[in-house]
Symmetry: C2
Subunit: 412 residues, 2 copies
C-alpha cells in the first residue's frame, strides 16, 4: 500500500509541522530559563524603576533654576548635601539648591532633572556654578519609564534571551512558565552498523554515526536526548524498542535504511505502534527522500534515512523545526538568526521536480561580499558536511541556480 | 593616577583580546564534545569508508558489461545472488554477471559500478536487462573516497558541530582533545542592589539584574559560571571575594558602579589582587565607557559597569569574545554566524569620537529586505534590549548613519 502514497514537498511537510502543538507548560527558575520559551504572555506586575533615578553623575536640581545658564553667565546654586547610592535622599531639593547625585541614585523630591557633572564647577563648600541649562526630565529615568505597570513584556512562544532574563529579574520574577523540553528517543538500526567504539571494522560494517551526530543536533535545538540505542533490524525488536520509548519520550527518531525496502520497513514499525498515523511518507528532496513522519498517540515519530548525510540534513531541515514547535515556537518567528544571504560563486545544476539541499562553504569574496561555494562530492560522503557552513535549498520547480545568484544559506 | 590613563577604542580592546591564549587542553568524550573547540589538528588515522559501497539500490556490475546499453537495445546480464547489508559479498562479480546490492552495501570484487534499480528490469530468476550504461565508479563510494588516510580533517580552534561529531564517529574516535571550558566568577556589587527574590523594594534599591543576565550570556558562550555572589562595596570585602575566586576560576567578572568614583574603585580592587596588571581602563563607547580589563596572575579580570544595559552590551561585545579566545577560537574565525546585513530604516545620529552601540529590531520590509529599526530610549532602560534583536555599531569617526544605509547587525 505504502508505495502508492504521494511523496510530499518540503513546504507541505513544514506546513504539517506548523500544526504541532507545544508540550504542556512547566515552571522553571530564572537561572535556568535562558533558551526556553514563554508558555504565556508576560505583563509587568510592577513598574521599573520604582523611583526616579539619575542616569548621569551630577547634581539633582529644579530644571527651572538652570534656565538661561551658559558658560559666560552660569547659574549659581547652593550645594545641599548628596544622594547616597541605594538610599532614599535625606531631604528634598528646595528652589535654588543642588544635591550631588551618582548615576542610578534616587532623585530627591522637588528635583526634576540632573545636571551632568561636566557642566558644573564647584565654587566652594556651599555653591556651584551650572554652565548649561537642563530640561525637566533630563538625565533622569522616571518611575515606570523603563517598564510600565501592566505593560506586555513578552509574548507566548518567544525564546528567553539573557536580556529578557534581565527584565524579569528587574521585576523580581524568579520563576517563569515555559513549555516543557521535549525528550527524544534515538534509535538506530541496520545490519551494517556497529558501535562507534569498534576498533577494527569487519568488511561491510560501518560505525553508528547517527546516534551521536543526531544527538548533538537535537541537543543544539534545546531538546533532551533520553534513550539512545542501536536495535537489530528485526521488526519485532524495533517495535518493542519504540513501545518502550513511548513511556517517557515526546518524540522517537528512528534512523536506518535508506534503501527502498527498509523505507517501507520503517512504516511497518510505525504501523506496529499504538494509535499510529502516517503523516508523511517520503519527501521530494535530495538527499533525504525516504523520510517518514508519523504519530503514535501523542508521540511524534520520525523515520530518517540511515545514511548519515541524509539523516543530518533531514534532521536539520525537519526534525529540529518540529522540536522548536514542541517547545512553543510561533509560526511567525523570523528565521533570520539561522539564515544568511550570500552570492553563489558558481553554477548549481538541479533536477526539476525535486528540492535539492546543497552544502556550501562561506567566505568573504572581493569587496567583502559573502560568497557561497557549493561543496560537490559523492552521495553519502559525510566529510562534505564537515567542510560546509550551511546549505542552500534549490526549490522544486527551479532547474538550478546561476553563478552570481543571491541565495539564502541555512547555517548549520 | 588612573584617570590619566587613556580610554581605548573598541578595536584596541579587541586586539588585546586577540592575544589571549587558550586554556590547557583536556580530553572529552564525543557525546559531550559539541560546541567545544579542537585543541589540535585532527588527521584521519583510517580511511572511510573502508570498503567500496553502493550509493544507490541496484546491481553491482562490471561497467564495461553495460557499455552501449539503451532502452531499445538493453544489455542482458546474468543475475548472481545479492549482497546482504553489513556483510561481505559471498562471491565476486564475474564478467556478464550482476549482483543485487542495497544502498550502503559492500561492492563485490570484480564489480566497479552500480546500475540503479530504475534502469534495470528483471526478466526471470536468472537474467536482467540494463537500459542505461554506467561508467566505472558510478553510484559507488570508493574506499577512502569520503575520508582519505592521513587527511587533515579539522584545524585546531575549530568548533565541533554535529556533522564534525559524525566524521569523528565514522573513524571510531570516541574521545577528543579540546580546550578546557572557562570557569567564570560573577561578582556584583553596589549599595543599591538587593537579591532578585526581594519582594518589596525599599526606596533607592534595585534588584541584582547583572548576576542573572550576565550568567545567561556567559553560559550561552559555552563557559561555566562558578561562584556567583553579591558582595558589599567595601574594598576589602571585594578584594577578598576576588582572591577567593582566583582559586578555581579563569575569569572574574565584577559588575558594579557606573559612576566615575566607583570606576576607579574597581581598579583599586584589581590593584589589591596578586600579580595584577591593568590592560584597559575605559573604552570609548556608549554605553559601557567605564569598562575595565586586567589580569591577576593567569586569571582575566573584567570590571563592567553596574548599570544592566551597559553590562549586557559590554559583556556581549568584549567579555564573550574573550571567553571564546580562552576556548581556543582562532583570530581568523569568521563572525558571519553572529552578524547579519540589514538596511537602516531611519537616521541614526551619533557623536564623533565615540563608538555607539545602538540596539535595533529586525523586520522584513517591502520586497523582503531585512530592515533594522533603532530602538531609542532613555539610557539605562533594560526593556529596550528586550525589544531588540541585536545592535549596530556606529564607529568612532562616523557622525551618524543615514536612513537606507546598509549596516551589520550583531545578533543577540
Amino acid at each position: 500500500m505504502a508505495q502508492f502514497l504521494k511523496v510530499k514537498t518540503p513546504d507541505e511537510v513544514l506546513s504539517i509541522l506548523n500544526g504541532i502543538q507545544p508540550l504542556p507548560p512547566e515552571p522553571v527558575s530564572l537561572a535556568l530559563a535562558c533558551g526556553r520559551r514563554f508558555a504565556s504572555d508576560i505583563t509587568a506586575a510592577e513598574q521599573a524603576p520604582h523611583f526616579a533615578r539619575a542616569t548621569m553623575d551630577g547634581y539633582a536640581v529644579r530644571a527651572r533654576d538652570t534656565f538661561g545658564a551658559s558658560e559666560s553667565l552660569p547659574a549659581l546654586l547652593e550645594r545641599s548635601g548628596e544622594v547616597i547610592m541605594g538610599e532614599a535622599p535625606a531631604r528634598p531639593v528646595a528652589p535654588g539648591k543642588a544635591v550631588e547625585i551618582p548615576t542610578g541614585g534616587m532623585l530627591p523630591e522637588g528635583a526634576d532633572a540632573v545636571v551632568m557633572v561636566e557642566y558644573t564647577s564647584v565654587l566652594d563648600n556651599t555653591a556651584i556654578e551650572i554652565t548649561r541649562p537642563v530640561a525637566p526630565g533630563e538625565n533622569v529615568l522616571k518611575a515606570g519609564e523603563d517598564i510600565a505597570l501592566g505593560e506586555t513584556l513578552f509574548r507566548k512562544g518567544a525564546m528567553l534571551r539573557p536580556q529578557d532574563i534581565g527584565v524579569l529579574a528587574a521585576l523580581g520574577i524568579v520563576e517563569v512558565e515555559v513549555f516543557r523540553t521535549p525528550r527524544v528517543a534515538l534509535i538506530s538500526t541496520g545490519n551494517e552498523i556497529v558501535p562507534v567504539e569498534t576498533r577494527r571494522l569487519a568488511p561491510g560494517k560501518v560505525r553508528d554515526i547517527n546516534n551521536v551526530s543526531l544527538a548533538a543536533q537535537i541537543k543544539s535545538a534545546g531538546a533532551r536526548v533520553g534513550v539512545q540505542q542501536r536495535v537489530s533490524d528485526r521488526l519485532e525488536d524495533l517495535v518493542s524498542a519504540c513501545k518502550e520509548a513511548l513511556i517517557d519520550h515526546d518524540m522517537i527518531v528512528l534512523s536506518g535504511g535508506s534503501s527502498v525496502g527498509v523505507w517501507d520497513y520503517t512504516t511497518q514499525v510505525l504501523a506496529g505502534l499504538p494509535e499510529s498515523e502516517l503523516l508523511v511518507h517520503g519527501v521530494a528532496i535530495r538527499p533525504g527522500k525516504p523520510t517518514i513522519l508519523g504519530r503514535t498517540g501523542k508521540t511524534l515519530f520520525w523515520g530518517l534515512p540511515g545514511q548519515p548525510v541524509s539523516a543530518l540534513i533531514t534532521c536539520q531541515a525537519f526534525v529540529l523545526p518540529s522540536l522548536r514547535k514542541l517547545q512553543g515556537m510561533m509560526e511567525t518567528e523570523p528565521v533570520y538568526a539561522r539564515t544568511l544571504k550570500a552570492i553563489l560563486n558558481r553554477q548549481l545544476p538541479s533536477v526539476h521536480g525535486r528540492t535539492d539541499y546543497m552544502p556550501v562553504a562561506l567566505s568573504r569574496g572581493s569587496g567583502g561580499v559573502m560568497e557561497a561555494s557549493p561543496i560537490f562530492g559523492k552521495s553519502g560522503a559525510i566529510n562534505i558536511l564537515a567542510r560546509a557552513d550551511g546549505y542552500v535549498v534549490i526549490a522544486q520547480h527551479v532547474e538550478g541556480l546561476d553563478c552570481g545568484a543571491e541565495v539564502s544559506v541555512f547555517l548549520f
